[in-house]
């Protein structure tokens, strides 16, 4: 008879290494220096966050629509709620805002399904959102057809103008960027020089000077009788500027495609444009989707610059409203609201781009 070896049951881990105690010993108080830093920074964060929360939430004014309703010591959110229509629609006629709402709805309908993995018509919807949607949106907002009242562009404003600038910027700059990127890698010296010159010129100057140029100088360069309105000029400036950046992003993708792909396509007898359209660009564009999204975020933030040439985007409407002496000093509330709008958009787009990057990377990592 041999004894069977029965090991003793494992001892539980020491109580100092598990649970909240263990976690904080490891992550907050691992060394004396770390302990001091944790305490000091914790105190600083607490002393900043508590008054901030108190100001923004607990002692804030939510109800009411007049300056007199702001009696509590905290933030005066009633300023934002009473001006919300102005922040979203700008000077658009109040009774016609349903047209803008419809555009928002179409925008949401064409983008939300893209987030669902299993939605079947993603590509078709994508093409619609880049081609059909802008046309429908333009006629809905500008009017003048199908019995819709025409609305002049100087009445466009607020959040919807911001979205419009960003959307037109991205839709127009993508094809121009592709052409410029191809031109920069062309073997024809004249074309290459022109493209390099164009790209480096726009990339070397600040957007604000481009917008200034568009608003001050463009009328000088146009023949008699041809004139754009202010919004159109800003759009031209933003598109030119953005397409130079887009071209550099796409060039990165083109450079990442191995030479063999070009040679194989040429061996199949494809001409230049077919080679690009069927073989190179589909691969290159897929590679740089994260870069394109990042460019889009930068563009989205840059649309605020139209404020300086006198258009009323969301920041413009906020800036305009906080100068109303009736409300007293509400600049912080206004800026926090505008910042929150931008933050929600940019943060979610960047998260989406990171997700996309991980998803697309799978096939390329060796």
């Amino acid at each position: 008879m041999s004894k069977i070896f029965v090991p003793l049951p494992d001892l539980p881990p020491p109580s100092s290494t598990k649970g909240i105690v263990g976690w904080s010993r490891e992550n907050l108080f691992s060394t004396p220096l770390n302990s001091v830093l944790s305490l000091v920074i914790g105190l600083i964060v607490l002393s900043a966050v508590i008054p901030l929360l108190n100001w923004a939430l607990f002692s804030a004014n939510w109800a009411g629509s007049t300056p007199e309703s702001c009696t509590a010591t905290g933030a005066c959110w009633s300023f934002v709620t009473s001006r919300l229509d102005f922040f979203i629609y700008g000077f658009f006629p109040t009774e016609l805002t349903w047209r803008v709402d419809l555009v928002f709805l179409l925008l949401a309908l064409s983008f939300v399904p893209q987030f669902f993995e299993r939605f079947p018509y993603k590509a078709k919807l994508g093409i619609f959102s880049l081609t059909g949607l802008p046309i429908i949106a333009y006629f809905l907002i500008a009017g003048g057809v199908f019995g819709l009242d025409p609305i002049a562009t100087n009445r466009w404003g607020g959040l919807f103008l911001t979205l419009l600038l960003a959307y037109v910027g991205i839709v127009a700059s993508l094809p121009i960027g592709v052409v410029l990127a191809l031109g920069r890698r062309s073997e024809m010296p004249v074309i290459r020089t022109l493209c390099i010159g164009f790209i480096e010129l726009w990339r070397g100057v600040p957007l604000i000077s481009v917008l200034f140029m568009a608003s001050v100088m463009l009328p000088l360069f146009l023949p008699d009788g041809v004139s754009f309105d202010k919004l159109m000029r800003a759009l031209v400036g933003i598109t030119m500027f953005q397409s130079a950046y887009m071209a550099e992003v796409i060039r990165g993708g083109l450079q990442a495609i191995p030479r063999g792909q070009y040679e194989a396509a040429a061996a199949m007898g494809l001409n230049y444009w077919k080679m690009m359209r069927l073989v190179v660009l589909p691969q290159a564009l897929k590679l740089v989707i994260p870069g394109i999204v990042n460019t889009f975020i930068a563009l989205f933030k840059d649309t605020t610059l139209v404020l300086i040439i006198g258009l009323f985007d969301i920041l413009g409407t906020v800036q305009n409203s906080i100068q109303d002496p009736k409300w007293g000093n509400v600049s912080t509330e206004g800026y926090v609201f505008a910042a929150a709008c931008f933050w929600v958009f940019c943060f979610s787009i960047s998260r989406y781009s990171q997700k996309l990057e991980r998803k697309l990377h799978r096939g390329h990592k060796r």
């Binding site: 992550n27 907050l28 944790s38 024809m188 004249v190 070397g204 600040p206 140029m213 360069f221 146009l222």
Partner: protein, 397 residues
């Protein structure tokens, strides 16, 4: 039996419009002609339009009297100086805010990058929140926030300005500091500084050569600190402190004397530094993460301590990854400093492309000059950084 045509000796003759070389040349000629025509048409339109509106052309306006004041100037300026002078006033203000911004953004950005990698959970999370919040909010909004909501709303009027020891005043017009006035003999301090710089450069070269040849280390850092900082201080005291301070005093409605830092400069520099630091933090984090962990382990195996590992092994390699994107952040900062007109900081865009353009009406020349400046600054920074990048890059066989 059908005859097989003999194609062997026949020269293949393609039509000329199918010849790739011809097509390339033709296409380029067409493109070149179209561009030239476009520019000529624009130029012609501009000439016609300007004549019609009575706008002068040429750079003669630069010598005319400007006739407007500028809030802040690093060089002598008043209304009687020329338009050309306003260009330099604006340019120097742009350079000033860019240099301040680059300095603080770099310091804060490196701190943030290291903090995000800290094993202290709290520090890492605070840095993450900072980066994610700041970089997703437009810079213009941040500039306006610091200027309008923080500075202008909270600072007192000049009459009841914050007073620190009767030397430092802070009010809605700006921050007033005592300004140093060099007296006789101060040039000795400058000379000592100059000698310190020159001798420390040659000392570094000598120490490197000696270490390469004999392997003996020399305390390069502390010696150069002693030479560059210590020598001028010693000279300052030897010469009997040849400097007096110009204290700001309240005269009429505002302070006179001393150094004045206007709120728009503060807001712009603050916003630029905080915003760019978020991006630099991400670049630094990526750079440090890009150095493989094996390097740290190898350095530890060689007996290097943590600090030495960081200084001698990790940072030199991380810098190679960091420098190219860091350059473009610096470029962005310089270009972003042109948002100054939003808060009235008198930079190049605000002074020259704003006031000077509105007064003289010579849009083409002024916009071209302004854009030329930004292009030049871009080229200078990027070529300097390329040079440095080449110097730091891996020496391969």
């Amino acid at each position: 039996m059908p005859e097989i045509p003999n194609t062997q000796n026949q020269q293949s003759k393609t039509a000329i419009w199918n010849d790739p070389t011809f097509r390339a040349i033709a296409f380029q000629v067409v493109a070149g002609v179209a561009i030239v025509w476009l520019f000529w048409a624009l130029f012609d339109n501009a000439l016609v339009n300007m004549e019609k509106r009575g706008i002068n052309t040429g750079f003669g306006f630069l010598k005319e009297r400007a006739g407007f004041g500028i809030l802040m100037s690093l060089i002598d300026y008043n209304e009687d100086y020329s338009y050309g002078r306003t260009f330099f006033v604006g340019l120097l203000n742009t350079v000033l805010v860019s240099v301040i911004g680059i300095f603080f953004a770099t310091v804060l950005g490196f701190l943030l990058g290291v903090a995000r990698l800290s094993n202290n959970w709290l520090i890492a999370k605070v840095a993450t929140v900072y980066v994610e919040v700041l970089r997703n909010i437009p810079l213009l909004l941040q500039i306006l926030f610091w200027y309008t909501a923080v500075l202008l709303s909270n600072l007192p009027h000049p009459r009841d300005s914050m007073n620190f020891n009767d030397a430092l005043f802070f009010n809605v017009r700006g921050l007033y500091l005592p300004g140093p006035i060099p007296e006789e003999g101060f040039f000795v301090v400058w000379m000592a500084f100059f000698i310190g710089v020159v001798s420390s450069i040659s000392m570094v070269k000598w120490a490197k050569k000696r270490q390469d040849e004999q392997g003996i280390q020399f305390p390069v850092f502390w010696t150069s600190v002693g030479l560059v900082v210590g020598l001028p201080i010693a000279a300052f005291f030897i010469m009997g402190m040849p400097m007096s301070l110009d204290y700001p005093t309240l005269k009429g409605f505002n302070f006179k004397g001393g150094i004045e830092i206007i709120p728009s400069l503060m807001a712009l520099a603050l916003a630029l530094s905080l915003y760019t630091a978020a991006f630099i933090g991400e670049i630094v984090r990526a750079g440090i993460q890009g150095v493989s962990h094996g390097q740290t382990e190898a350095a530890h195996a060689m007996g290097l301590r943590n600090g030495q590992t960081l200084r001698l092994v990790i940072i030199p390699q991380a810098m190679r990854i960091i420098i190219p994107p860091l350059t473009s952040q610096y470029l962005n900062l310089v270009k972003n400093s042109s948002l100054a007109p939003a808060i009235g900081y008198p930079d190049l865009v605000s002074v020259f492309m704003g006031t000077t353009l509105n007064q003289s009406g010579q849009a083409v020349e002024i916009v071209a000059m302004t854009m030329g400046v930004y292009l030049t600054i871009s080229l200078i920074i990027s070529s300097f950084m390329n040079w440095w990048n080449k110097k730091m890059s891996l020496v391969e066989r």
